[in-house]
Amino acid sequence: MNRILRVAQREYIEAVKTKTFIVSVLMTPVLIGVIIFFTSRLSLDAIGPRPPRTVAVTDLTGRLGDHLKASFDQYNEAHPQRRIVLELLPPEPDLDALLAQAKQRVRQGEWHAYAVMEEGIVDGDGKVRLYTHSKRAADIDISGTIDRLLTQPVVDMRCALRDLSPALLAEIRYVPVEQLAADVGPASQDTRMSEIDQVIKMMVPFFFMFLMLMGIFGTGQQMLSSVIEEKSSRVIEMLLSALTPFQFMAGKILGLAAIGLTVITIWSVPAVLVLGLQGINLDLGVALPICFVIYYILGFLLFSSILGALGSICNTIKEAQSLMMPMTLILVLPTVAWFNIAQNPDAAFARILSYVPPITPMVMILRISASPQIAALEVVATILLLAASVPVAMWMAAKVFRTGVFMYGKRPALREVLRWLGEK
């Protein structure tokens, strides 16, 4: 046992000491913080002026022209740096030719959009036909504005036709909704839930899944590179003369698990503190952290045994990367599907993924944090399945490791590796 701890200790210290580790561990939260800060603080106007965009309009009613001009002028006055220029095209006898020409100019990027206000739009069943071409990311905010600028005059005219004041209409349409948390306590102490609260609540499952993924995957990578380093620097045989393969692997896994927990702590403590300072109470309960630790340990054991075996048959990191591909694809699945899983934690899709051992921890932590009412039976079943797959993976990894680690030169074919599993 003492030797296992020694191996774990070295693994931990040598990994934590490296510049890559310090930079990546400390920089990641800083980077995420910076991104969040800038996206939330920087309003669109602060980005700087944008060249004016032109919207061409053909008004078939013949009545909207002045109103449209007024509507656009008002907007441009308020947003001098993000002007939207209105260009009125008088209707021509050959409407089709006009349309074809206009569409071409939109395609060429001369105009941002071309709109046709149909004849019955004010008092019949006409509509606005809005032609646009490429969607530029920089124009992401513009289409809503154009919609509003084009329809507002129509609404105003409809009001005028019915003798209705537009201000009254706005008043009628305004119904305030207050988002409140369903806490225990009298109505006077209700806490308001801002939009940011809701976003955070929505992000909690992702946050936990991300921690799980980084804890398992990131440190698993460390396992891979450390085994390959020991193999390529030929230190492995010196080690195996002093340690049994079991002591060696157990020590490594233990050390790396400690690294993973360190990373998770470094990342989650400031996150929780920041949320606490903002007055946002996550109220995670007891079950989630307990489940997290169980899933993390099992998932880590499974994954690092697989990667240890993988590392033992490779001579360089580069070689290992091609073998990692299928593993990476499987692990990326929960990251891609997280929203779906978090929204429908009890759907068949989420359930099936829960029983695929390498990604069980990620999927289950998503499901548990998205819906605490998840069936305890499922939690127990997935933990048991994961726990059962760990010794199987370790046994196979030990077989592969024993032979693979002394194979220098050409990487063995899969068939050969499978044959090792049958050897005693």
């Binding site: 003492n2 620097s233 045989e237 010196m238 032979t403």
Partner: protein, 304 residues
């Protein structure tokens, strides 16, 4: 005294290749045992099986009087052929780490590490990183790592490769000093004159099978009798007529005489004296190198 190592009918195959083929041997405690053979003879495989790094397909291996080898690891020091050390750690730290994983206590390790660094001449380099050490220093550090736990049995796979004459002498000195302390040293090599200088006993293997096993004197005695070189004044024709002479070959100014098997060189000398003037008479002692080349050559011919 019990044997330090017993191999009993050990076999190991890698796929279709038989690396070790019914190998049996005994290594008595307290000797320097040379494990010789050409490249690919199965030396490294055998040593790895002794270390329980790989397992034999069949046969029995007994180390330090015990069949259960894992428990013996702290009593054995092993320097593999494929050897390296953590490049980013300092010499002292590497040595300390290996002492620790060989089960030594912290206090013990600190003392021993200092002693061994001094012994192999690396005291000045204790705080230098392994990657900054020269090749020779590297090798000496590995030697120290192997011996840090003062093992009873030291197994060295090709310990002399890459050493300059000065370091070679130093390493040889340490090996002999350990032998004098009653430790057993097994090393493999294909450098015959090194083996000749320090080995008490030798096992020569080829293609996984033992060819010669015994003390250096026994082996020499068995292979020396064959040839005598003489320098004579007078008519040497009588030599060819002697029944104990098989063949006479002129070499430079003298003659090389191959005796028939069982013949004693002393008998030849007795025959010569009085008939001719013997200027020089020397029973040729074959070098291990010659024995090796002859035996391995013959063995390989036989089987190809």
């Amino acid at each position: 005294m019990t044997d330090a190592l017993v191999l009993d009918d050990v076999c190991k195959s890698f796929g279709p290749v038989r690396a070790v083929d019914h190998l049996s041997a005994r290594v008595p405690t307290g000797c320097v045992y040379g494990f010789l053979g050409p490249n690919g003879a199965g030396k490294t495989t055998t040593l790895r099986m002794v270390m329980d790094i790989i397992r034999p397909d069949s046969g029995r291996i007994e180390v330090l009087g015990d069949g259960r080898r894992a428990a013996q690891q702290s009593r054995i020091g092993y320097m593999p052929e494929e050897r390296g050390l953590y490049r980013k750690m300092t010499a002292a730290k590497v040595l300390t780490y290996f002492g620790q994983i060989k089960g030594m206590s912290d206090r013990q390790v600190a003392d021993r590490a200092r002693q061994w660094l001094a012994r192999v001449g690396l005291a000045q380099a204790a705080n230098r990183k392994v990657e900054d050490l020269s090749r020779g220093m590297h090798q000496k550090l590995q030697f120290a790592v192997t011996c840090i736990n003062e093992p009873e049995l030291v197994i060295l796979d090709e310990p002399f490769s890459g050493l300059d004459p000065v370091n070679l002498d130093a390493t040889r000195g340490i090996i002999l000093a350990m032998r004098d302390q009653g430790k057993t040293i097994i090393f493999s090599t294909h450098v015959m004159h090194e083996a000749e200088r320090i080995c008490d006993r030798i096992l020569l293997i080829n293609r996984g099978r033992p060819i010669v096993d015994g003390t250096l004197d026994q082996i020499r005695a068995r292979w020396q009798a064959g040839t005598v070189s003489v320098e004579l004044e007078g008519n040497a024709d009588l030599l060819a007529a002697l029944p104990i002479v098989e063949r006479v070959t002129p070499v430079d100014r003298g003659l090389e005489i191959t005796l028939s098997p069982e013949a004693d060189p002393q008998q030849l000398l007795a025959e010569l004296v009085g008939r001719v003037t013997v200027v020089s008479f020397a029973v040729k002692v074959p070098s291990l190198h010659e024995i090796f080349v002859n035996l391995v050559g013959a063995d390989s011919e036989q089987n190809s």
